[in-house]
């Protein structure tokens, strides 16, 4: 396997892996039997990696979630669905490439798919605006969701964005208004909705695709009210405190599962989805099928009621009752 871009904590063992491969080649070329030694080294390396990945800090998970080689929405669409018809545009202003959507077949069932789309490489990323949508992106998403409702199709959303685009044009066209609308429309949409956080879930721009009957999250994905950098710059006036803030924000899949904001954490391959995408697609497909089957067996009215109750109950506070 070639590593085009390695995270700092990936580099150390990737070096060893490389040497190990070399050793194997030498052994084979020179016809010397090192198999016991190689097996021992491999076992040790495996143990080392397991230890490392089982104790990742929140900041390290953020780095995996932002890895440039991490599978994007379009990768999942290509791998998981049988057919995909992309549908474009919000019918008002333009097509926002930072959100993709369309019709797909999932194990023979027609579904509507909507997701944030990051690019790969600079030119793709500029086209996709680094996965940061404008209002027209959210308006396209609402249009597609309402189409799903009309044709009684389930909706599957993929979340992967740093946030909604913080620019003048986006504000001019009502970024806040557009996000509020999609949140409201999704909360009463008469179709089952499953949302999956595949990478970064950044603030309101991510939540816009996150009002769902099931919220699933990959094990190294993150989801937060504000980026660790933003939080550090506002609260500490110092971006170098990002890794520290990252722990406090409780933004990892495991934290959010414990807080009951996420319904299930989908395990990734040990070193992350980018190292073994196919294994990731396989398990994501299985889990989606499981949740979709459950939802398709319920009455729509019950689904809507549960969706409301779930949102209604989020929040931690104390209540004192004053007796007059």
């Amino acid at each position: 396997m070639t590593y085009k871009y390695s995270l700092d904590f990936e580099k150390d063992y990737q070096e060893i892996e490389k040497k190990l491969t070399e050793l194997k080649e030498i052994a084979q070329n020179k016809q010397i039997d090192f198999s016991h030694e190689i097996a021992a080294l491999e076992a040790k390396l495996k143990e080392y990696k397991e230890k490392k990945y089982n104790t990742l800090s929140a900041w390290q998970k953020v780095k995996i979630a932002r890895h440039p080689a991490r599978p994007t929405t379009m990768d999942y669409i290509a791998a998981i669905f049988d057919e995909f018809f992309e549908l474009h545009g919000d019918r008002c202003f333009r097509d926002d490439p930072a959100i993709v959507g369309g019709l797909a077949l999932f194990n023979g069932v027609p579904v509507t798919v909507i997701g944030h789309q990051k690019g790969r490489g600079t030119s793709q990323n500029i086209k996709r605006n680094f996965g940061m949508p404008h209002p027209e992106g959210y308006r396209k998403a609402v249009r597609l969701a309402q189409q799903a409702e009309k044709f009684k199709r389930p909706v599957i959303c993929f979340i992967d964005t740093q946030g909604a685009y913080p620019g003048v044009e986006a504000e001019e066209r009502g970024q806040g208004w557009a996000i509020a609308q999609i949140l409201m429309q999704m909360s009463v949409l008469q179709s089952p909705i499953i949302s999956l956080v595949i990478g970064e879930g950044g603030s309101g721009g991510a939540l816009a695709l996150g009002v769902a009957d099931r919220v699933l999250m990959l094990s190294y994905a993150v989801y937060s009210v504000i980026s660790p950098e933003g939080c550090a710059s506002i609260l500490c006036k110092d971006v170098s405190k990002s890794s520290e803030m990252c722990e406090h924000l409780k933004m990892t899949a495991q934290d959010l599962y414990a807080m009951e904001i996420v319904d299930e954490v989908i395990p990734e391959p040990l070193e992350g989805a980018h190292i073994n995408p196919n294994q990731t697609y396989k398990i994501v497909k299985e889990k989606l099928q499981l949740h979709l089957d459950e939802l398709l067996n319920q009455k729509m009215d019950d689904i809507i009621e549960q969706r409301y109750k779930k949102l209604r109950n989020i929040g931690i506070f104390r209540e004192e009752v004053f007796i007059e």
């Binding site: 680094f130 986006a170 970024q175 909360s187 603030s203 009002v211 506002i234 609260l235 807080m259 949102l311």
Partner: protein, 288 residues
């Protein structure tokens, strides 16, 4: 400026320099308040009579929740609801408990919103007023819960809702719990709309972030006070992250009216009349 600059580590640095908002540098005179817009010194007593609006330039001074209720609700008609809701520190976020204690003492408020039943020129409503002195009116679990409860109460009692918003957005010290309040309040507004009841939101300076992107902009009628800043991403953050130049008057009430984002701009001294007439128009069929 090229787009790549956002990810340039050199330009990142600029992200952390947060200059204080420029304020008129006139000296403070006791008993007088300096207008941040025109710099004139306004007599405290006179300001109270003029609804805390600068007589010179029409600048609307920020109001506390109490002042707002006093200006809008009929005498002795306001009955506070859900005042027993107390903010916890669910993530044990460093410094949060101390900040809460300090701002409670300074403002005498329990949270960033006061909600209650009131009458506006005799029209019964459920009212919510946010106070920007309380951690910039940010929305955490308690603010979200109080907003949901006013919509639920209004549904049950078939009353109109009037909300005065002022907020810096979601409260980051409560992490994802506060982000989810956007979805929670929005879901309550959606249900409220299905009941055919009236929701008026009055967006005041400043209404930003997660509050703009949820309940504040989902009203049947959105009115703004003159000069109010209403946006998702504020001008300073745009400048720091994208380095774009901000047009004059950008995201202010007048700009938003021109761009079709709000229904009307209403001066503070006409606000009470405007609200009561609007509510009366919507309850016309009940009175037949």
């Amino acid at each position: 400026m090229s787009f790549k600059d956002i990810f340039n580590p050199k330009s990142r640095k600029k992200y952390i320099t947060l200059p204080p908002p420029s304020e008129a540098s006139s000296p403070h005179i006791p008993g007088f308040e300096t207008c941040p817009q025109c710099g004139s010194h306004n007599n405290e007593e006179q300001l109270q009579k003029s609804y805390r609006v600068c007589p010179g330039c029409g600048y609307h001074y920020p109001l506390t929740a109490e002042e707002r209720i006093w200006m809008i609700a009929d005498n002795n008609s306001f009955l506070e609801l859900d005042d027993g809701l107390m903010t916890a520190d669910p993530l044990a976020f460093p410094g949060y408990a101390e900040k809460l204690a300090k701002v409670r003492e300074e403002t005498g408020l329990e949270e960033a919103i006061i909600t209650g039943k009131a009458e506006i020129n005799g029209e019964k409503v459920i009212m919510g007023v946010m106070d920007r002195r309380f951690l910039m009116g940010s929305m955490g679990s308690v603010v979200g819960e109080k907003i949901v409860r006013i919509f639920e109460t209004a549904c049950a009692e078939k009353l109109a809702v009037v909300l005065f918003t002022a907020s810096g957005g979601a409260r980051m010290q409560e992490g994802m719990l506060s982000l989810m309040q956007m979805a929670k309040t929005t879901a309550a507004v959606a249900r409220f709309h299905q009941e055919g009841l009236l929701y008026i939101s009055v967006v005041t300076d400043p209404t930003t972030g997660g509050v703009t992107a949820s309940f504040a902009t989902l009203a049947d009628i959105i009115i703004a006070e003159p000069g109010a800043l209403v946006c998702f991403t504020g001008p300073r953050v745009i400048e720091q992250t994208i380095h774009q130049k901000i047009p004059e008057g950008f995201q202010r009430a007048e700009y938003l009216l021109e761009h079709g984002m709000i229904d009307q701009i209403v001066h503070r001294k006409e606000m009470k009349q405007y609200l009561s007439k609007m509510i009366a128009l919507h309850s016309w069929s009940d009175k037949q």
